[in-house]
């Protein structure tokens, strides 16, 4: 079996599972946020049970519309706080957490080998730690809160084997954009995507999170990476107990629906052009695209490694007149680290606006929305029509280095070229 099958077999009390089989799996952790939580609470109350099945295994994170941008949002947040109090659930409120997918592993809620259900599509991020994690909706989250179980179809698996070394300013974000560009938005529907190979082994946990995070953009049920020493190092002091990683290796004879190879050595920075995540081009082929907004942040690219990279590009430079640059550290922990490292000063000196840890402009529901005819280059994960505001706005997705370089020049720019010209 592969790692995903092993985790799901254990969770459903079976020795072996096969793709296509439907199992009833025990859930180790469920998460809801402020956009999906209120509907889940409403549905939970309709079920008629009094208590959450296990209050140690459910977490609430407020991250999408925080601090509340309207009275309506404030009311929803209030409902969630009350539910967390009544049920004695862990809640990460304004100023205490940040983006759910950063907070969950930081606070030790993501354990390798466990089954995690999150009422947010980017829950697949936790596969970076060797957990089986996938997104569900509010009603389903309510059912998990009540029963601790969920039906799952064992997915077919795709192995993505990555080799080679990244050139300067080419990042895991460029790799995942390139993978989605080749596999397409429906290339992995219902499947498990397992990232392997020497490049993955040498990659930071942050980079692995970026890969698994965007697996859902090709339709995948989960992205996953076998845990190793890098995983252990990140999680030590965060998780209550560390499982044995040996049980979380894909067998030599594990079955994959297909294996695809990627080599990053000659890879250029990549850009996903409007209005589909799989409309991916090397930055040199994007052409002359002026931008009004540049966003660095989100669950895809708001980590300290991302901010360091952006700061490296922006240090001593100014954001071009006419461009609004917005930087959002993914969590309070990242914010604090960026502050201590002097990164926030680099951003503010460059004329970028640094905002408090939350989802921000990514979902077009809170701050940093776009007007008709405007263009944003963003480190986030979706560029669908209307995603960040007006249906007549355009969103280009790129790495923190590319977005930072574009903020300086006012048009989509290869960070390697900007450096060479300096």
């Amino acid at each position: 079996m592969n790692i995903t099958e092993k985790i799901l077999a254990k969770a459903s009390g079976k020795k072996v599972v096969h793709p296509g089989e439907i199992v009833d799996a025990k859930v180790d952790m469920v998460m809801v946020n402020d956009l999906t939580g209120p509907l889940a609470v409403e549905a939970f109350k309709k079920i008629g049970v009094q208590k959450v099945w296990d209050n140690q295994k459910a977490v609430v994170v407020l991250d999408h519309q925080v601090p509340a941008e309207s009275v309506k949002a404030a009311e929803l947040h209030k409902t969630l706080r009350q539910f967390a109090r009544d049920q004695k659930l862990r809640i990460y409120d304004v100023g205490k957490g940040g983006i759910c997918h950063q907070v969950m592993p930081e606070k030790g809620h993501v354990v390798p080998g466990t089954v995690i259900m999150g009422a947010d599509s980017h829950t697949c991020t936790y596969g970076a730690f060797g957990a089986f994690a996938t997104g569900i909706g509010s009603t389903e989250a309510a059912a998990v809160l009540a029963t601790g179980k969920i039906w799952l179809k064992i997915p077919e698996a795709i192995k993505v084997n990555v080799s080679g070394e990244f050139q300067k300013f080419v990042t895991p974000k460029d790799l995942i954009l390139s993978i989605i560009g080749r596999m397409k938005a429906d290339g992995a529907i219902y499947e498990s995507v397992e990232f392997t190979g020497p490049t993955i082994r040498g990659m930071s946990v942050a980079g692995r999170m970026t890969l698994c995070n965007m697996s859902v953009e090709m339709g995948a049920k989960n992205g996953i990476i076998e845990p190793d020493e890098a995983t252990r190092k990140f999680l030590e002091g965060r998780v209550k107990s560390m499982p044995n990683f040996e049980a979380l290796r894909s067998d030599k004879d594990a079955v994959y629906e297909r294996t695809v190879q990627f080599n990053v050595s000659k890879m250029e920075p990549q850009v996903a052009c409007p209005s589909s995540v799989d409309n991916v081009k090397p930055v040199s082929e994007v052409g002359n695209v002026p931008v009004e907004q540049a966003f660095i942040g989100s669950c895809t690219n708001g980590r300290i490694e991302d901010l360091r990279l952006a700061a490296q590009v922006l240090k001593g430079k100014m954001v071009k007149e006419g461009v609004r640059a917005i930087v959002i550290p993914a969590s309070q922990e990242v914010y604090s680290q960026a502050l201590n490292e002097g990164l926030l000063e680099i951003f503010t000196d460059a004329g970028a606006m640094v905002c408090g840890s939350a989802c921000g402009p990514c979902l077009g529901g809170h701050i940093g929305l776009l007007a008709a005819g405007e263009t944003c280059v963003s480190t986030s994960n979706r560029n669908f029509i209307g995603r960040m505001g007006s249906t007549q706005a355009n969103v280009f997705l790129a790495s923190p280095a590319t977005v930072a370089a574009s903020a300086v020049t006012g048009k989509i720019t290869n960070p390697r070229k900007l450096e060479a010209e300096a």
């Binding site: 999906t36 309506k72 909706g137 009603t139 938005a185 529901g365 929305l369 209307g386």
Partner: protein, 167 residues
């Protein structure tokens, strides 16, 4: 849920995402009828008007890709969509639709054989959809019995209540 549905088709292409089905900025709306006013706003702002008499949405591949927002299928359901037929669905949208009692059924070949305005009849028991406008017939993907039960009960919550009461 009745086992037969008849209605006019409204057809969309591949990769219809949840941001065009229901933009993120409307997710603070609690009343499903308010959500419905913005259903598919990203592709056709007139959709709620067209759907209110009851329609069948036909999609291409990967219908409902993107966010986990259950407000997307809710907006469709309350706008008047009786059923969604597509070449394939994004998994979270599929589960969400079933869980709120909106039939979402895979139907290979459907998008090439249906045009907006065609008169469709879906027979869940027979597992068949007929296009009266051109006489073509298609097989629906067979859903596992427990999913059929969730739909028959009107959604996951109702299904769960019934099952828990039995235990």
């Amino acid at each position: 849920m009745s086992t037969k549905i008849r209605g006019k088709a409204i057809k969309f292409g591949n990769n219809v995402d949840t941001d065009v089905i229901l933009p993120g900025r409307y997710m603070i709306l609690v009343d499903p009828y308010e959500l419905a006013k913005h259903a598919l706003e990203g592709l056709d702002p007139a959709f709620p008007e067209k759907a209110k008499e009851g329609v069948i949405v036909v999609g291409g591949r990967n219908f409902g890709c993107g966010s986990s927002r259950e407000q997307a299928p809710l907006a469709l359901k309350y706008a008047g969509v009786k059923c969604v037929l597509a070449e394939s669905f994004a998994r979270i949208f599929f589960r969400n639709a079933i869980n709120i009692g909106l039939p979402a059924i895979q139907c290979k070949g459907i998008s090439d054989a249906v045009e907006t305005g065609d008169d469709l009849a879906v027979d869940f028991e027979a597992g068949e959809v007929k296009n009266f406008s051109n006489g073509k017939k298609f097989q629906l993907e067979k859903l596992p019995p427990f999913i059929q039960e969730i739909l028959a009960d009107g959604g996951l919550i109702e299904n769960l209540r019934r099952r828990m009461n039995k235990e």
